[in-house]
C-alpha cells in the first residue's frame, strides 16, 4: 500500500520533471521511461493485491477531519494492474512516438499526472479523495485533449468534454452525498455499514449511471467521447479509450456493487437496456465513420456497452439470489474490460503510427500501407481480429463468456428480465457481427489496396519503440485468448468480493479448457483451437507445396479484364459501408445519398452528397442546448439589478427555506 502511494508520488514528480525538461529529447525519454517503470510497479502491486489481504493507508492530507484514506483490495488491485498494463504500453509507445509531437511542453507535464490521477481513483477509500482524484483525472485529460488546440474541431471537443466531465462530477457528488447520509460519513467503510433506503438507493444508482456512465461513454452520455478521444495525441487517446473508460467502470462497480449493498432486480434491467443500446449504436456509428481515430473511439463506446451488458446481468442475477451466475457475468465483464484495454490501446498505437506516417486521420486518403508498414500492419491486424471477437484471440473469449452468462438462467421470475436478457443477447450478437464488418473496413481501406494519396504511397515504418509496444500488445491479445483460464482465475477474488461467489477454478481443467459451469454444458479451449488452426494450416501449406505446385507468377491484376488505372476507382471507406448504411442507417441515422447532377450547360462537377444525422445529438443535446441558451438569455436581466432588489431576493430565499423547513417537520 505504501509502495503504491510512493508510486503515485513518483508520477507527480515526473510531471514536475516534465515541466522542466519538456523541450529536450532527454525529457521525453525520462518522463515516458519513468512512467513505464512506475506502471510496471502498478502491475506488480495490483496483481499481488488480487490474492493478498486488504491494505489501508491514511495520509494526513485533504479534509482535516477525514484525511486521505487509501485502500487496496482485490477490485482496486485488478484495476490498478489494468492501469499499469495500459499505462506501460502507452508510455513505451510514446518513448518513440513522442518525437512527432510539435509541442511536447503541452503533453509531458500532464501525462504522468493523468496516470497518477487514475491510480488514485481506484485506491481512494473516501468520497473526498475519490472525487478529488476523479476531477484531477478529468482536468489532466482535458489539458491533454487541448494539446493540439489549434486544429479544427479540437476547441469544440475540449469544450464539450469539459461540460460533460463537470456534469459527471456533479452526479457523483450527489450520489456520494446521499450515501454519506445526514451524519456525513464520507469514508467508504461507513457507507458500507449504512446502506441507504430504497428511494435514496435508486437516486444513487442513477447518479452512478450518469456520473460513471458519462465518463465511460454510455449512450446517450457518450457524445463527448468520439470528439475528445481522437483529439488528444495518439498515446493519450489509447490511455483515454483503453484505461480511463475502465476507471469509470471501476467507479460504477465500486458504488453500485460495493457501497450500495444489495440491489433491486430492475437495476439490472436498466443497466442491461443501456448496455445493449450502447453496444449497437456505438458500432453503427463506427461503421459510418471515415476518421480512423474517431472510428476507434466509437468502437470504444460499443465495447463499453458489452461490459455494461455483463454488469447488468451480474446485477440481475445478484438481485435474484443467483450468486454463481452473478460471479460469471461479472467475471465476463471484467475480462472484457481488460481485453478492451489490450486491443484498443494496440489499435490506437497503430492509428498513431499511421497518422505520423501519412499526416492524416482520414481513411479515404490511405491504402496499401501493408507494403510500407508491414510490422504495424501485422500488429494492427491482430488488434482488428481481436476486437471483432474472432477465435482464437481474446475478444472472442470474453464475448463467449458473456454469451454463456446470457444463456445461464432462463427461469427468472421477473418479466422485465425475461424479455430484456434475450434481447440483449441479440444486441450483443449483432454488435459482434457489425464490429467484424467495421474492422474489415478499417483494415482493408487503410492497409490494403493501392495508395489513395502520395503521402500514403511514401509512408515509412514506425520507430522501434512504437513497434515494441504494438507487437507486445498483439502478443498479449493472443495470450489472453489462448490461456483465458489464467486470467479468469486471477479475477475470481474480485468476483467473490463483489458477488459472494466465484467461477469454478479453471486452471484445473484438462488442457487449459474453460468451462464456466460444467464441461457438459459449455466449454471452449482457445489453445487447442489455435493449435488446430495453425497445425492444419502448416500441414496444408506443406502438402500443397510438396505434392501439388509451388510456382508463383506475378502479373497485372485481372479484375474481370477491365483493370482500372487510377487508385481512386477502388472501393473507398464510404462505398464499403454503403450497403450497411442503407440497411441500418436509413431509419436510425436518416442516412441519405443524393446525386448532385448539374444542369446541362453547367460546368460544375457532379457529385454524390451523403448525409448522416446523429439522433441523440439532434433530439437530446440540441434541444437541451437551446433550452439552456433560452434560460441564460432570460436570466440575464438578473445581472443588472439594484442592491435593494438583490437584498429582496436574499430575504425571499430565506423565507422560502424557513417555510420549507416548517413543512418538512
Amino acid at each position: 500500500m505504501t509502495a503504491s502511494a510512493w508510486m503515485i508520488l513518483a508520477l507527480f514528480a515526473l510531471a514536475l520533471l516534465g515541466v522542466l525538461t519538456a523541450r529536450s529529447a532527454a525529457g521525453r525519454i525520462l518522463v515516458y521511461g519513468g512512467s513505464v517503470v512506475v506502471c510496471a510497479g502498478f502491475i506488480a502491486t495490483g496483481f499481488l493485491a488480487l490474492t493478498g489481504p486488504v491494505e489501508r493507508l491514511v495520509l494526513p492530507l485533504g479534509l482535516p477531519w477525514i484525511g486521505t484514506n487509501l485502500r487496496l483490495d482485490a477490485l482496486s488491485g485488478f484495476f490498478l494492474a489494468l492501469i499499469g498494463v495500459g499505462g506501460a504500453g502507452a508510455s513505451l509507445f510514446a518513448v518513440g512516438y513522442g518525437r512527432h509531437e510539435a509541442h511536447p511542453e503541452r503533453v509531458l507535464p500532464f501525462y504522468p499526472a493523468f496516470l497518477a490521477a487514475m491510480a488514485l481513483v481506484v485506491l481512494a477509500d473516501d468520497a473526498f479523495t475519490f472525487l478529488f482524484a476523479w476531477e484531477l483525472m478529468s482536468l489532466t485529460s482535458w489539458a491533454l485533449v487541448k494539446a493540439h488546440h489549434g486544429e479544427p474541431d479540437n476547441a469544440q471537443a475540449g469544450f464539450v468534454y469539459l461540460i460533460m466531465a463537470t456534469f459527471s462530477g456533479m452526479a457523483l457528488l450527489l450520489g456520494f452525498g446521499l450515501l454519506a447520509g445526514t451524519e456525513g460519513g464520507y469514508a467508504f467503510d461507513v457507507m458500507r455499514q449504512a446502506p441507504p433506503g430504497t428511494l435514496a438507493a435508486t437516486v444513487v444508482l442513477l447518479a452512478a449511471l450518469v456520473g460513471a456512465g458519462s465518463k465511460a461513454g454510455l449512450v446517450p452520455l457518450h457524445v463527448w467521447l468520439p470528439l475528445a478521444h481522437p483529439a488528444a495525441p495518439s498515446h493519450v487517446s489509447a490511455l483515454m479509450s483503453g484505461v480511463m473508460t475502465k476507471v469509470a467502470i471501476y467507479g460504477f462497480i465500486r458504488i453500485v456493487f460495493d457501497l450500495l449493498g444489495p440491489n433491486q432486480w430492475w437495476a439490472g434491467t436498466v443497466v442491461l437496456a443501456l448496455g445493449g443500446i450502447t453496444a449497437v449504436l456505438g458500432v453503427l456509428h463506427a461503421l459510418m465513420e471515415r476518421d480512423l481515430k474517431r472510428l476507434l473511439a466509437y468502437s470504444t463506446v460499443e465495447n463499453i456497452g458489452i461490459v455494461f451488458i455483463g454488469l447488468g446481468l451480474a446485477l440481475a442475477f445478484r438481485a435474484t439470489g443467483f450468486e454463481a451466475g452473478a460471479a460469471l457475468a461479472l467475471t465476463a465483464a471484467l475480462f472484457h474490460a481488460l481485453n478492451h484495454t489490450l486491443f484498443k490501446s494496440l489499435l490506437f498505437f497503430g492509428a498513431g503510427s499511421v497518422l505520423s506516417a501519412t499526416g492524416s486521420r482520414d481513411m479515404e486518403t490511405m491504402g496499401g500501407l501493408i507494403h510500407r508498414m508491414p510490422r504495424t500492419a501485422g500488429a494492427f491486424l491482430v488488434g482488428c481480429a481481436a476486437i471483432s471477437a474472432l477465435p482464437p484471440l481474446n475478444g472472442f473469449a470474453s464475448e463467449w463468456l458473456t454469451f454463456q452468462a446470457v444463456l445461464l438462467h432462463p427461469e427468472l421470475p421477473q418479466w422485465g428480465l425475461k424479455l430484456m436478457i434475450p434481447v440483449d443477447g441479440a444486441a450483443l450478437a449483432l454488435a459482434a457481427a457489425l464490429a467484424a464488418a467495421c474492422f474489415v473496413r478499417a483494415f482493408g481501406i487503410v492497409f490494403l489496396g493501392r495508395p489513395r494519396s502520395d503521402a500514403a504511397a511514401q509512408a515509412r515504418e514506425a520507430d522501434p519503440w512504437s513497434l515494441i509496444a504494438m507487437v507486445g500488445f498483439a502478443v498479449l491479445c493472443l495470450l489472453a485468448g489462448i490461456v483465458p483460464a489464467a486470467v479468469l482465475d486471477s479475477i475470481a477474488p474480485v468476483a467473490r468480493a463483489m458477488t459472494g461467489s466465484r467461477m469454478p477454478v479453471q486452471l484445473d481443467n484438462l488442457w487449459l479448457t474453460i468451462a464456466p459451469v460444467e464441461a457438459s454444458r459449455s466449454s471452449y479451449n482457445g489453445l487447442l483451437v489455435f493449435i488446430f488452426i495453425g497445425g492444419s494450416m502448416l500441414i496444408t501449406i506443406g502438402a500443397v507445396h510438396r505434392f501439388a505446385s509451388r510456382g508463383v507468377q506475378r502479373g497485372p491484376a485481372w479484375d474481370c479484364g477491365f483493370p482500372d488505372p487510377t487508385p481512386l476507382s477502388q472501393y473507398s471507406a464510404g462505398s464499403f459501408s454503403q450497403p450497411l448504411r442503407r440497411v441500418f442507417g436509413t431509419v436510425l441515422f436518416r442516412a441519405r445519398d443524393t446525386v448532385d447532377m448539374p444542369a446541362p450547360g453547367d460546368n460544375r462537377a457532379a457529385g454524390i452528397v451523403r448525409r448522416i444525422a446523429d439522433p441523440i445529438w439532434d433530439f437530446f443535446y440540441a434541444p437541451l442546448g437551446r433550452g439552456v441558451g433560452w434560460i441564460a438569455d432570460h436570466a440575464n436581466v438578473l445581472q443588472f439589478l439594484t442592491i435593494r432588489r438583490y437584498l429582496g431576493f436574499v430575504f425571499g430565499a430565506l423565507v422560502v427555506l424557513l417555510l420549507a423547513l416548517t413543512v418538512w417537520q
Binding site: L381, L390, A436, G444, V529, V544, A548, G555, Y571
Partner: protein, 318 residues
Amino acid sequence: MAMIWPLAAQLVQMTVILVLSPLLTGLVRKVKARLQRRRGASVWQPYRDLRRLLGKEAIVADNASWLFRGAPYFVFAATWVAAALIPTFAANLMFSWSGDLIAITALLGSARFALALAGMDIGTSFGGIGASREMMIASLAEPAMLMIVFSVAIIAGSTQLSTIAEYMLNGQVGLRVSLALALVALLIVALAENGRIPVDNPATHLELTMVHEAMVLEYSGRHLAMIELAAALKLMLYLAMIACVFFPVGMSGTPGQIGPDTIGGAAWLVKMAVGGVALGVAETAVAKMRVFRVPNFLGAALMLGLLGVLLLFVSRGM
C-alpha cells in the same frame, strides 16, 4: 492404448468430411442440371477441378501482399477445424469439447474475415464490392445464427453440439414451436452463408450481384483450389449441423465401437445425400433476389430466431 480408438474416430471424422465434401457439391450440381434437363457434369467433376487447380502455378497480382497469399490456407484451416467439431457419425468425439456451437460460428466468422480482407488486398473494385456485401450479409446472418444457437442451447441446456445431439436423440424433446422457428431460421442462414440461391449464385462469374465470386476473383491455381475446397467444406458443415441438431437419428453416442459407428456413418451419408438433393431442388425452384432484398430475407431469420428465444425465456416448454 485407451486413447487410440477415440483419436482414430476423430481423425476418421476429419478425413471423411474433407474427402466427401466435393462429392456433395458435385451432387448438388448434378441434381440442378438434371432438373434443368441438362445431362450435367459427373458428380466427380469437383475433384477433377481441384486436381487441375492444384497442379497449376498460381498467378498473383503485382501488388498482392502476404495476406493475399496466406488467406486461402487460413480460410481452409479455420473451416476445416469448424467442420471437425461437428458430430457426424458419432457424438462425443475426442476433441468435441474444445469448441461449442458459438465457437463454430465464430470460427466461420474468422474465415470470412480473412477472405473479405483478401478480397480488398489487390485494390480492385470487384474485390471491394464482394467484401462489402459479404460483410453486410454476415452482419445479419451471424446474429441470426447465434439466436438459433440460443434456442437450441436453452432447450438442451448446453451449447456443446455433442450434448445437444444426445439430448435430441433421447426423444424427450417432442414438437416445439421454438425449434420449428429455429429450423426455418437455420435454413435461411445456411443458404446465405453458403452463397446459394436466392442470396448469391454459386454457378456464375460476371454477374453484377455476385458476392462470393467477386471476392475471390483474383485467385487462381492452388489458392483458388483451397478456397473452393473451403466452400465445399462449409456447405457440408452446415448440412451436417442441421442433421446433427434436428435429425440426429442413428448417430452413435460413444465413438470407437465399430457397429454403432457404421450405422451412424451410413445414416449420416443418407442424410447428406437427401440434404444435397433437397438443396438442388430448392435452388432450381426459386429465383435469385436483388441484393437489397437480402437484408429483409435475413432479417426474417433474425426475427424468427429471436422470437424462438423469447418464447423459451417466457416458457421452457414452448
